[in-house]
Symmetry: C2
Subunit: 195 residues, 2 copies
């Protein structure tokens, strides 16, 4: 007989509270990225998921709205890439499934690595006006992660939807975290690695 | 000062328990699709989300593993398309972020409408071996939904990853649900409808 849970829940690692303590506005975009990459690094060190983090910020003020990290392995759900976690946390906090909704300031997602095919597709629905990326797709692929079947000109496709992309922000710092993950024997969890 | 919840949760509508009661295996694929489209229709009638549903089944036996519906408006999260909900419920139930993992039977996702850009990108990570679709992208667009910036040959991209696609299954039945949603004044909730 069929049964399924009527709820799905995922939980951030405990260290996030400590990591975000005292943070309010990060006025410089480089500083926002550095903060996000630091969370990716911590996620590796604490072994709470893949080497990726993402934050939602108010573009003008730099106010931190949410911070997410990759939770695929720790929470057992393939959709829990850092971007999806950050978007969901922000939408719950602001009680709006559209971060670009009326009356809201403009928001951006700052992500430590360029989004995979799924997260790229999620960005237009999230309501963010800007995407800031650190490491490139190729940096993630270099350590064995698969970015999925993404439009070659994904930045252009976002631009057509009035979503600006700033890329290569602190790229070296972001790449280092990917390398650390590999060196620490972190799991490369693409579903089809068993194929 | 920054604060955010440390958990995100979403909940299925209560009627799902009733709708799935007594269901176990649906041996014919058309029957699986009909069951999924029925859930989309019910989601419209109950006003619990968009006109979309998706189920995860064991391919060989037709055993129902999970049933998800679109919960974007009811749960306030833009990622909660029916496919994402169904994938997450199945992964939680089987305690595996890879539905194609070792020791598991082959799984398929049966979805009442072709996946949007995000859900398309999520499919390779989910571990399903087959995708069965009802209404087409163009049917969703006809009532105002945006399918996002998706690869023109998305079916080919999945095939390259050994994920089979069967499309136009019960297409007319699936289209009717989209039309009903529009006629009932259902919200077309693409984030940028306010732009």
């Amino acid at each position: 007989m069929f049964t399924q849970s009527d709820t799905v829940q995922f939980k951030l690692p405990d260290w996030i509270t400590d990591y975000t303590s005292g943070v309010d506005c990060l006025t410089d975009v480089h500083e926002r990225m550095s903060f996000v990459i630091g969370a990716a690094k911590r996620n590796v060190e604490e072994k709470t998921g893949g080497p990726f983090a993402a934050g939602i910020f108010e573009i003008a003020s730099g106010k931190l709205v949410s911070l997410g990290v990759n939770l695929v392995t720790s929470q057992g759900l393939s959709i829990l890439h850092a971007e999806m976690v950050a978007i969901s946390l922000a939408q719950k906090k602001l009680a709006s499934y559209d971060l670009g909704g009326e009356g809201l300031p403009r928001h951006e997602i700052v992500t430590s690595t360029e989004p995979c095919a799924m997260c790229f597709g999620a960005i237009p629905w999230s309501g963010v006006s800007r995407v800031v990326t650190g490491a490139r797709d190729e940096d993630a692929r270099r350590i064995g992660f698969d970015e999925g079947p993404k439009l070659a000109d994904w930045q252009g496709a976002l631009a057509e939807r009035q979503i600006e992309v700033i890329h290569d922000m602190n790229r070296e710092q972001a790449r280092k975290v990917l390398d650390e993950y590999l060196q620490n024997g972190g799991k490369i969890y693409n579903a089809r690695d068993s194929a």
